[in-house]
Symmetry: C2
Subunit: 371 residues, 2 copies
DNA sequence: TGGGCGATTGGTAGCGCTAACATCTGTGCC
DNA sequence: GGCACAGATGTTAGCGCTACCAATCGCCCA
């Protein structure tokens, strides 16, 4: 059988027949720019080979300045945009990093994702996000799968629960991966804040103010942050020889804080409470006040996070500030490192900062000039 | 430039050199499957052609069930993942939609982005996000460019200011684009909430309660939402024949609300305030209270948005609820439509809902049992 | 003055997938 | 029984870019 050799597409014979009759340099006719220009078009316009265009666009050093100039002008003139799919296919790198995040309106999570995103863009990466409604192996796995399917170059997992990551490491083989938040003991490079130090700081503040002991409204049991803050609280109590009241659990929402506040109000001896986040502290304070306990005169309250609204609660909330964006930035830095070197060192935990406001007072002191 | 460097993470570096002498022909060692399997591999494993594998994976109808089964099993067995860059290159569709959003911690924006994301994933699309720090032509343009460079199939712009979109339409040629939030008059398909109706509702509520007039703390002038709420307030006032007090401007933050509250406190005749969002309302209330004005006994306050914390402000805030996630979902629906049909109809604005709580009282009524 | 070296540039061959055809079954019908 | 026809599968040729190597050029030193 005769194999008729199909027309070898000689360079210059370009694909589009229409383009042939369109002399270069002509004013862009309305019909002309049907499809967006290709690297070949730029090359032709600049009088160089496609390869040279590629080199210019990739910042390759050995291109003569004037050649580079010509190419850049052609790029400008044709409004050329490199096709990233083709680039990804050829280089096996997508210039995209994936973010797996817990889908919540919690300030901290959102701010952290923001930090990652900005750092990524600053480093020249695109960002693809997948949020999960529940934090468990399966959902995180699916999310990371979908990101890996997009061939991301790296993965930042913003998760409250590091224990859940074991399996993820296996699913996302070949992709650099770091964790933001969570405990730094996950076996993966992690950027985290020292929750325990924060919890200790909050508790000590209340103890120093003369309170015999400090109650604690904790977050969900399965969050590393909850755990850290609780442990910090316990250790500060132990150091001071104070008795440890029963822990009350919330779910981070103001509503759960309100419930916790109602329960606290039933105990006549409560004078100081460390609440594991600001939203819950808001609820706690409302419940306390509605139960006839003044804040801070009767009960002092310390929150955690320092969300932007905390300074405008009534009373303004004493709290522990976390820099979530910084956390995001750090994890991105870690990821860049991991992608380049394969290194796996976690960065040292950030120490949260104490922010004194008006929701705390000395024990037993019916404040006079506090408000 | 360096090629893939299979950095063995094991501490014992000596082991890696030994691995080089790994003789060929040995049983599939753990080292073997260096690269991920290709469609060709699946095809071979299933005893069919690559094209058939492709068809199965794309849900093409004309594949015999048993063939499909064989292929799926092979896919499973080899843990095959389709390379999306290659797919994108071949199909010219990336299965990714881009989201351009204003980079803020504002609850509404974040919730809206979430809504988009979930709807997108439900529809089988990846989501790539670019946030901008400032809302102007240039920054939005850059963000959308970077998304378009990723060859997204569609674009959702979550913007507070629709006027800024003119230029965007030209830059993102060939990409379907819709707007979430903003005014519905941008010339682009838009999913929005009826801010004006919300503002009117809030103002009327206060008027009905017997207040002679209602003051307004507005958002930034250049946000469509601010404008709509303000117009609603004005129209309700006009309808009632009430005089229109001077507008006080904030920037959405609680801090700016606090400043506004301080100013309001200087006017002895203020008995009712409609604040353009809940965060500012929080600040307003604190300033009012610190200035010796009780809420709601002396001054009634209505917010806007119904953020999750609003119910736990002190007093719990009467407000206008917006369903931001629904907004996101709607804009995604619009986008899918636009991508399929090229249609450009905006969806009807959602009407925000009134939520009565304790921050409002009848004019002049020194409430007894309100708390 | 010739060979060699580095800096520049070009050609070729894919990256992994799918659209569009070509081919091969099996079926129903006259 | 042969032919049209549809369903199931295979073959070919790119999608737009870059890695790799080859070719070319200028310039230096012996």
């Amino acid at each position: 059988m005769e194999v008729d050799q199909p027309q070898v597409s000689a360079p210059g014979t370009g694909a589009s027949t229409a383009a042939i009759e369109n002399p270069p340099g002509a004013a862009p006719s309305p019909e002309a720019a049907r499809t967006s220009p290709l690297m070949t078009d730029v090359a032709r316009a600049a009088g160089v080979s496609p390869m040279t265009v590629s080199r210019v666009l990739n910042g390759h050093p050995s291109v003569r300045p004037e050649t580079r100039q010509k190419v850049l002008e052609a790029v400008e003139r044709l409004e050329y945009r490199r096709n990233s799919a083709a680039r990804t296919l050829a280089t096996r790198r997508s210039q995209t990093i994936g973010v797996v995040a817990f889908d919540s309106t919690f300030y901290g999570q959102a701010a952290c994702v923001r930090g990652v995103e900005h750092a990524a863009r600053a480093a020249g990466y695109f960002v693809s996000i997948a949020t999960v409604k529940e934090v468990n192996e399966r959902s995180l796995g699916e999310a990371s799968d979908s990101l890996v399917a997009q061939s991301v170059d790296g993965l930042v997992v913003v998760t409250p629960r590091a224990s859940v990551l074991e399996e993820l490491r296996e699913r996302a083989v070949g992709v650099a991966m770091v964790v933001a938040g969570g405990s730094p003991h996950s076996g993966l490079p992690t950027a985290s804040a020292d929750q325990e130090a924060g919890g200790r700081r909050a508790t000590r503040h209340l103890l120093f103010r003369g309170h015999e002991t400090v109650w604690h409204v904790a977050g969900p049991e399965d969050w590393d942050d909850s755990h850290g803050r609780l442990v910090g609280w316990q250790s500060a109590l132990a150091d001071a020889g104070a008795i440890e009241p029963r822990v009350i659990r919330g779910d981070w929402t103001a509503a759960s804080g309100y419930q916790a506040g109602l329960e606290l109000a039933r105990h006549r001896d409560v004078t100081a409470v460390f609440v594991a986040n600001d939203q819950m502290a808001l609820g706690v304070m409302l419940a306390l006040k509605q139960s006839g306990r003044r804040v801070p005169e009767d009960v002092s309250v310390v929150g955690f996070d320092d969300i932007p609204e905390a300074a405008f609660f009534d009373p303004p909330l004493t709290t522990i500030r976390q820099d979530f964006e910084e956390l995001g930035r750090r994890s991105m830095r870690l990821l860049l490192q991991a992608m380049e070197t394969g290194s796996v060192a976690s960065s040292a935990p950030v120490i949260p900062e104490f922010v004194g406001r008006l929701s705390t007072a000395d024990a037993g002191a019916v404040a006079n000039g506090l408000r």
